[in-house]
Structures are given as structure tokens and as C-alpha cells.
């Protein structure tokens, strides 16, 4: 059994072994192994040139990674916490995202920006944000979110191998709590694809990152009440892989999207719009969204109110079913 944190560590190690051009950069990722220990032991084994402890400057980290990428390296950047990506926002959306386009395709930006994201760990301010929509809204970036150890192991390697810049979201509250058996004989799911993680007939729940677990728990609870929920892990947020989603919704006739990010203009809005366009005639109810409220992420002792939990998800399921 391997935790999500250990799976990422193993995936990073594999990628570094396979390609000497892979370089890790970030705050505290060396001797400390990162504040979440995702890079534990890597500096010891690969040296300070491959696992670079950087000064405390996010724009510096991402901006210098741009230069490294221009020089033929494959930088993998760790942003310590979601709320601290914004000092690097300009570099990410104006430089990283546009380099391939601006150079007429002559230059690629094979960069991975790892962000531990979302909440539920009782943290202080800026440590529980879900900034995915801001990046998914930026052409030139790809955005993926892992939700379990097996995906984490493969997805990080696939992301590093990809020629395009990828914002790689890691559900931090599952780092050490989620365990799975990693069978290397089972081939990985392609990176940019969504996946049905539970079969069901009455309604399709769409989730990614930490809410996949919430959705699965909700599905288990609903089953006891005789309701059969299908759960799709979106996995890739930009590009979206919606063909399996459309197939599912055409069968169930109902869909609920769940994420922690603010609901207004969030991923759910896009997914709901696309389902409406593609599956209008199959729908028995409007596509519903369950997300964080349109408020800043609250202090820890109020986060239970903010975070979409099993009950809020089931409430939406119920509204859809009784439409």
C-alpha cells in the first residue's frame, strides 16, 4: 500500500531516473523534502543541481524555470501552497503559457507546476485555495488534478514527459490519508482523459481532486437509500475530456458537478454548459453544481460550512432526482 504522497515521490524519482534533464525547483524541497515531504530523499540521491532549493520567491522560481526550459531542461516546480502561486501568476499566464504560441511553435515549455491544492486540513489563510479555474481559463496551459495514489504515480510522470506546460494539482488533504495498491503491471490511463470510477444508473456525479473521494462516499451512502450514482473523475480540467461524461449523462439523464472552488465561473460552470449543449435532449433535470460558496475561503473553524461535503452533494442529487 502506498500513500498519495509516496506515490508522487516515487513518480518524481522515476521521471528523474528516466530523464537527466528533469530538474526540480522549489522552496524547502531539498533537505526538508518539502513541507509535505513529496520530494523526500530526492536531493540526497540526485544532488543539489537536480533538486534545487530556491530562494523564497515564486516569480523567481517559475521565471527561472522558463529559462531552464528554454535551455532544454524539464523543470518541475513546487509551489508550497496554493495561495502562494499568485506571486508567480504573471510568469505562468503571460510567459509560460504563451511561449509556444509567441515563438510560432519553435519553442516548447515542458514545465510542470505542482500545486498542493484545496482545503479541509484546518490550515490558516492562503493554505486551502482552489485556483484551478484561473489556470484552466488560460490558453497554453494544461491543468490536471490527481485524486488517488495510482493516478498520482502515473500522472506526474506523464505530465513531466509532456511537451506542454502543465499545472499539476495535488489534493493535499489526501496526501497521507489515501492509500492504494500500486500494480505496475496495470497500464496507466492516458493523462488527458477522464474516467468512470464508479458505475451507476440514476445520476452522474462529476468530480476531480479531493471531491472524488467525497463523491464516492456520497455514492456509497446513496446506494443504501436505493439510489445509484455514477462517479466520473474528470482528472484533466484543461483540456476537458468530456466524451465519457456525455456518454454517462445520456444514460443517466442527470448530472451534478462538485468542486471546492467557488461556484461562480468555476469548472462546474464550464462542464454544466457543455453538458447542456451536448446532452440537452437526454437531460431530465438541469445540470447542478455543488461548489464552494462565492466567499473567500473561510477560517479553519468555518471550513465545514464552505466545503461541499457528502450532505451538500446528496442534497443536490435529491434536487435533481425530484426535478
Amino acid at each position: 500500500m502506498i500513500t498519495l504522497a509516496k506515490a508522487l515521490n516515487a513518480g518524481l524519482r522515476k521521471a528523474m531516473e528516466n530523464d537527466p534533464k528533469v530538474v526540480l525547483l522549489g522552496e524547502d524541497i531539498g533537505r526538508l523534502g518539502g513541507v509535505f515531504r513529496i520530494t523526500d530523499g530526492l536531493q540526497k540521491d540526485f544532488g543539489e543541481d537536480r533538486v534545487v532549493d530556491t530562494p523564497l520567491a515564486e516569480s523567481g522560481i517559475v521565471g527561472s524555470a522558463v529559462g531552464l526550459a528554454l535551455r532544454g531542461y524539464r523543470p518541475v516546480v513546487e509551489i508550497q501552497f496554493d495561495g502562494f502561486v499568485y506571486p508567480a501568476y504573471d510568469q505562468i499566464v503571460n510567459q509560460v503559457a504563451k511561449m509556444h504560441f509567441r515563438t510560432g511553435g519553435k519553442v516548447t515549455m515542458p514545465m510542470v507546476i505542482r500545486i498542493p491544492f484545496a482545503g479541509g486540513i484546518g490550515a490558516v489563510e492562503h493554505h486551502s485555495e482552489s485556483p484551478e479555474a484561473q489556470f484552466a481559463h488560460t490558453p497554453g496551459l494544461k491543468v490536471v488534478a490527481c485524486s488517488n495514489p495510482i493516478d498520482a504515480y502515473w500522472m506526474i510522470q506523464q505530465a513531466i514527459a509532456s511537451p506542454d506546460p502543465i499545472v499539476f494539482l495535488e489534493p493535499k488533504r489526501l496526501y497521507h490519508s489515501d492509500k492504494a495498491e500500486l500494480d505496475l503491471a496495470v497500464p496507466p490511463v492516458p493523462l488527458f482523459s477522464s474516467r468512470v470510477v464508479r458505475r451507476g444508473d440514476d445520476l452522474t456525479v462529476l468530480a476531480y481532486g479531493p471531491t472524488v473521494k467525497t463523491a464516492l462516499n456520497a455514492a456509497a451512502a446513496a446506494e443504501k437509500e436505493g439510489t445509484s450514482l455514477e462517479v466520473v473523475d474528470l482528472r484533466t480540467l484543461s483540456p476537458l475530456d468530456l466524451a465519457p461524461v456525455f456518454a454517462s449523462v445520456r444514460r443517466t439523464g442527470r448530472a451534478v458537478v462538485v468542486h471546492e472552488a467557488h461556484t461562480n465561473l468555476g469548472m462546474g460552470a464550464e462542464v454544466a454548459a457543455r453538458i447542456s449543449e451536448e446532452c440537452f435532449h437526454s437531460l431530465e433535470a438541469p445540470v447542478l453544481r455543488v461548489g464552494g460558496f462565492d466567499t473567500p475561503y473561510p477560517p479553519a473553524r468555518a471550513e465545514e460550512h464552505f466545503l461541499p461535503d457528502l450532505d451538500r452533494l446528496l442534497d443536490a442529487v435529491d434536487r435533481s432526482l425530484t426535478w
Binding site: D28, P87, V124, A300, F306, L314
Partner: protein, 375 residues
């Protein structure tokens, strides 16, 4: 500008410095010592409360009491402070109830004091962001004509606190540029506690931090951050320079973080215990105690009474923290805007109704579809 400023040695002996002197008498030194003692107790109590699960996190200041109380006590009422997240000692000097600081770390709010009233902004967790706020505030002070008037109750200085790691951030460097360009009445007070989590000072700078100031066009001074007389004197001089219209100063308080970065950090993974032992010998409180005792400026009774006062503070914090009011769902919604809009009000009311549905429903095991269907 000047050599390392120290006015009281680790052994508790007074030192002369050509540019700085501490002019307070024994009364004031006792009172500085009192503040450091109470702040240290506040910190120890908070660490213990975190271990008992009463706080989500704590960023200990132990070792940095002299830097903070020295800087905090040098302020005047009209001055304004922009702290990071470890400035508990400065907050104390600004008259902020420690329970308000604990409330933040308990996860109830993001700071409940009134920044305007206290002259002390909310804690800032994004490294370096507040340095720019301080400069902007100082630019406002200039526009209000509150510098260089010669009126001690009017002339105002602004302080930005940050750590050694923060000096790498763009925001801090931009703050230096702005402050220099406009000669803003701001004091950049850097507590160089040698570490930014696991990254040592050498990862941020090849030269002593105070020397950076020169490159931006204003003076920098390095002070023994474990010497409260020196931090007080140096900060006071820098504040006065700012109030008089002399422009910015960078003060580097050379100190040490004795504890972990925060309660979730494990410093044994990156630093040697030798180093910690070495800094223990420079303890900011011990040297003042030695000084007071050696010169007969404080009796045993003073120390005994102070210990009792610290115990009482500890007790007040222990009980007080458990009595802090929990945040209500309404605080989520009602504080987002000065004027709430219809859409958000509808979200709030919808959530109220949703919560009410649980109150109406028969209790189930934590709420399932049944609860939801019961609506």
C-alpha cells in the same frame, strides 16, 4: 552605515556605540524586561495550546523577543505597523489582546483587532506583500503632511516587518524601490532569524542583508536582535529619521529562531542542535536579567512578582481561548463585501435554509440521503 550595534552583551554588560545610545533608566529597562517575559509566556502558552489541539497552528517567536519588543516599544501612538505572522511581541506592544492573536491561529477569524485603531495591520501570510502596503501607507502619511512638522504628536513613521527569507520576494524589492524613490517615511524591520523554514540565510543573500539597502539608496543598519536596548535605540533612531522626513531605513535585527518555524515544522531535519545551543547563550532575556541583578536594579521580589504575573497571563489565555466564540456561517457571507449583493445574499439564505433542514429532520447518523430527501 555602521557596525553591528550592540549595547548590552550576552553577559549583561553595557557597551558603547558611536552612533547609538540607550537613554532609558532602570525603570524602563525593567519594563522592557517585563514585556519580554510576558510575551515569552504568551508564546509558550500558545505552543502548548496548539499541542492540545486548541490552535490549528502556531508560529513561535521564542528567541526573537528583544527584536520585537525593542521595535514595538520604540513606536509612538500615531505610527503604523505592517506585520508578518510572527509579530506577537509587536502586537503586544500595540495593546492587542493576545486572545485576538490566538483567535486567528485557532481558525476563528483572520485577526479581529481594528488595524486603524491599533496602528497595527492584520497579520500577512503571503511573504513580503505587506512591505508594499507599508510604503503606500507612508506615501499617504506624506500627503497628509504628517512628516517633518516637528510636532512629536503629529510626525508619523511606518514600519514593515518581514523575515530574511522575505527579502528574496519581488514585493519586498519593489517596496525598497518605491520607498527610496519617494523618500517615504518607512522603516523596514527585517528580523533575520537565520532561517526561512529550512532555507538558511545563505540561500537568500550572499551579503549581510542590511547592506542591500545601500544599493537601493537608503541606509541600512545591523543590530544585535537579541539585545533589547540596541533594537530599541536603533529602531527609535530610524523611526525618528522617517518622522523628520529623512526617508526609509532598513534595520536588520540579527537574531535566531529558537523554535520550529511553526508547530508543523520539524527543524531537526535541517539544522544542527549545536547551532541552537550556541544561540541559547545569547538569550535576549537572560542578559537583561543579569544586567538588572548585577547592578542592583531589580530585586528578587521583582522577578517573583513578574513570574506570578506571567502565570496569571498563562491562565487567562488557557481559559480564554476555549471561550472564544466560534465563527458563524453568516460571517462567511456578510463580510465579503461592504454591501452584499443579491446573488451572494441568496447563497447565504439558501445555506440558512439548508442548515435549517437538518434541525427539522430527525437525527440520522451524520446526515445521509434520507436527511436530504426529508426536506
Amino acid at each position: 552605515m555602521s557596525e553591528f550595534v550592540q549595547l548590552l552583551t550576552p553577559e549583561g554588560e553595557r557597551r558603547e556605540h558611536p552612533d547609538y545610545d540607550y537613554r532609558g533608566g532602570p525603570d524602563q529597562i525593567r519594563s522592557l524586561y517585563r514585556d519580554m517575559t510576558l510575551v515569552r509566556r504568551f508564546d509558550a502558552e500558545a505552543t502548548a495550546l496548539q499541542r492540545h489541539g486548541e490552535l490549528g497552528l502556531w508560529a513561535p517567536l521564542v528567541g526573537q523577543e528583544a527584536a520585537q519588543v525593542g521595535a514595538g516599544r520604540a513606536l509612538r501612538a500615531q505610527d503604523h505597523v505592517f506585520p508578518t505572522y510572527r509579530e506577537h511581541g509587536v502586537a503586544w506592544c500595540r495593546g492587542i489582546d493576545p486572545l485576538q492573536v490566538l483567535s486567528l491561529f485557532r481558525g476563528i477569524d483572520y485577526g479581529s483587532w481594528d488595524p486603524t485603531e491599533k496602528g497595527f495591520n492584520l497579520y500577512t501570510l503571503v511573504i513580503g506583500a505587506q512591505a508594499l502596503h507599508a510604503v503606500g501607507y507612508a506615501m499617504g502619511v506624506q500627503r497628509d503632511g504628517a512628516v517633518g512638522t516637528g510636532d512629536p504628536d503629529r510626525d508619523t513613521a511606518v514600519v514593515a516587518h518581514f523575515g530574511d527569507g522575505a527579502t528574496s520576494q519581488g514585493d519586498v524589492n519593489e517596496a525598497f524601490v518605491f520607498a527610496a524613490s519617494y523618500q517615504a517615511p518607512v522603516v523596514f524591520f527585517c528580523q533575520n532569524n537565520q532561517w526561512a523554514i529550512s532555507e538558511p540565510l545563505e540561500r537568500q543573500s550572499r551579503i549581510p542583508l542590511y547592506r542591500r539597502a545601500e544599493g537601493f539608496g537608503f541606509p541600512g543598519v545591523q543590530v544585535d536582535g537579541n539585545d533589547i536596548l540596541a533594537t530599541y535605540a536603533v529602531t527609535q533612531a530610524a523611526l525618528q529619521r522617517a518622522r523628520e522626513g529623512g526617508g526609509p531605513t532598513l534595520v536588520e535585527a540579527y537574531t535566531y529562531r529558537m523554535g520550529a518555524h511553526t508547530t508543523t515544522d520539524d527543524p531537526t531535519r535541517y539544522r544542527l542542535s549545536d547551532e541552537v545551543e550556541h544561540w541559547k547563550l545569547k538569550d535576549p532575556l537572560a542578559r537583561v536579567e543579569a544586567y538588572l541583578r548585577r547592578n542592583g536594579f531589580a530585586t528578587d521580589a521583582f522577578f517573583t512578582e513578574l513570574a506570578a504575573e506571567a502565570d496569571a497571563l498563562g491562565e487567562r489565555l488557557r481559559t480564554g481561548v476555549r471561550q472564544l466564540a466560534e465563527p458563524t456561517p453568516h460571517q462567511l457571507f456578510d463580510r465579503v463585501y461592504a454591501e452584499i449583493g443579491d446573488e451572494l445574499a441568496a447563497q447565504r439564505d439558501g445555506y440558512d435554509a439548508y442548515l435549517a433542514s437538518f434541525a427539522d429532520a430527525a437525527p440520522t447518523d451524520g446526515g445521509t440521503l434520507e436527511t436530504a430527501v426529508a426536506r
